[in-house]
């Protein structure tokens, strides 16, 4: 397995993990806030 492939795979995994973490931390609370504002 080439080094570039390992690095790209790891970076994409980190990117996905970061997206997921961001969604868990900020994404869901934003949705709740929006609902609160509209009421």
């Amino acid at each position: 397995m080439a080094v570039w492939f390992e690095l790209v795979a790891m970076m994409l995994a980190a990117y996905g993990f970061g997206l997921g973490l961001g969604w868990v931390v900020w994404g869901r609370s934003d949705t709740i806030d929006t609902q609160g504002d509209s009421e």
């Binding site: 397995m1 080439a2 080094v3 570039w4 492939f5 390992e6 690095l7 790209v8 790891m10 970076m11 994409l12 990117y15 996905g16 997206l19």
Partner: protein, 246 residues
């Protein structure tokens, strides 16, 4: 203009991939070069004359998973030692031989032969597990024999032990199969009560279809229980865990 989230995520992933490739391209060679020199040193120390480690993938890209070539005149032990020495270099991934397989078979731990089958056969050579006629109730003498069988089977815990019930040819065959199955189950329960785990015991009944060789099907000596220790396959280590000679 609103950006679709899916598109933004995909574009981000592409950017990450391109960045990764861009970073790895120029730096991979510098990363792999010290691995190559350390591997060469490890090979020399392990006595791997003529063995070379190639740190490149099939397409020629730098890789930290070396392919070992040469060493055809080395014995298996030396080849395994060389492979382990290379694998022990920090940063090196899985080691494979160019002329080998992916399985480190030669390094698989020698399988200790189990003697349970012989021990049980020895116990049952002169005695047999006997039942009351037409019943799955064991005779008292057979309970003592089962104690000895359970003790003989104990070293084989982890293996599958097959218990086969047989009957003679008297009576109808469906009834015989049912009776032989009941007897095999009775023996299984007796072994479970003597500390043999149930999940390793398989009970089956074959009726009178497999008489003792040389005996007439109607001979009462065909009423018997047979044990077979079915060995389980040992785990084969992966070459990454224990690099082998092939």
């Amino acid at each position: 203009m609103p950006i679709r989230p899916g598109l933004a995520i995909f574009a981000g992933a592409m950017l990450v991939a391109v960045a990764g490739y861009g970073v790895a391209g120029p730096t991979a060679t510098d990363f792999v070069a010290p691995l190559g020199s350390m591997a060469s040193k490890a090979i020399a120390e392990a006595g791997g004359t003529g063995v070379t480690a190639r740190f490149a993938g099939p397409a020629g890209s730098p890789s930290r998973h070396p392919v070992l070539t040469g060493g055809e005149n080395l014995d298996e032990t030396s080849r395994a030692r060389v492979a382990r020495a290379v694998a022990a270099v920090p940063g090196v991934g899985g080691v494979v031989w160019s002329d080998g397989t992916l399985r480190a078979e030669s390094d698989a731990p020698a399988y200790e032969p189990l003697h349970c089958q012989e021990d049980v056969d020895g116990l049952l050579r002169t005695r047999s597990v006997r039942f009351e006629e037409g019943s799955s109730a064991m005779l008292p003498a057979s309970r003592v024999l089962l104690d000895e069988v359970a003790a003989a089977l104990r070293p084989c815990l982890g293996s599958i032990i097959s218990i086969t019930g047989h009957t003679d040819a008297s009576g109808t065959e469906p009834g015989n199969i049912e009776l032989s199955m009941e007897r095999a189950r009775a023996v299984r329960e007796a072994l479970v009560s003597r500390g043999i785990p149930r999940d390793g015991l398989r009970a089956r009944g074959v009726g009178s279809s497999e008489p003792v060789e040389g005996l007439a099907p109607g001979d009462p000596a065909n009423r018997r229980i047979e044990f077979a220790v079915v060995r389980t396959e040992p785990l084969t280590p992966t070459p990454i865990d224990t690099p082998g000679a092939r």
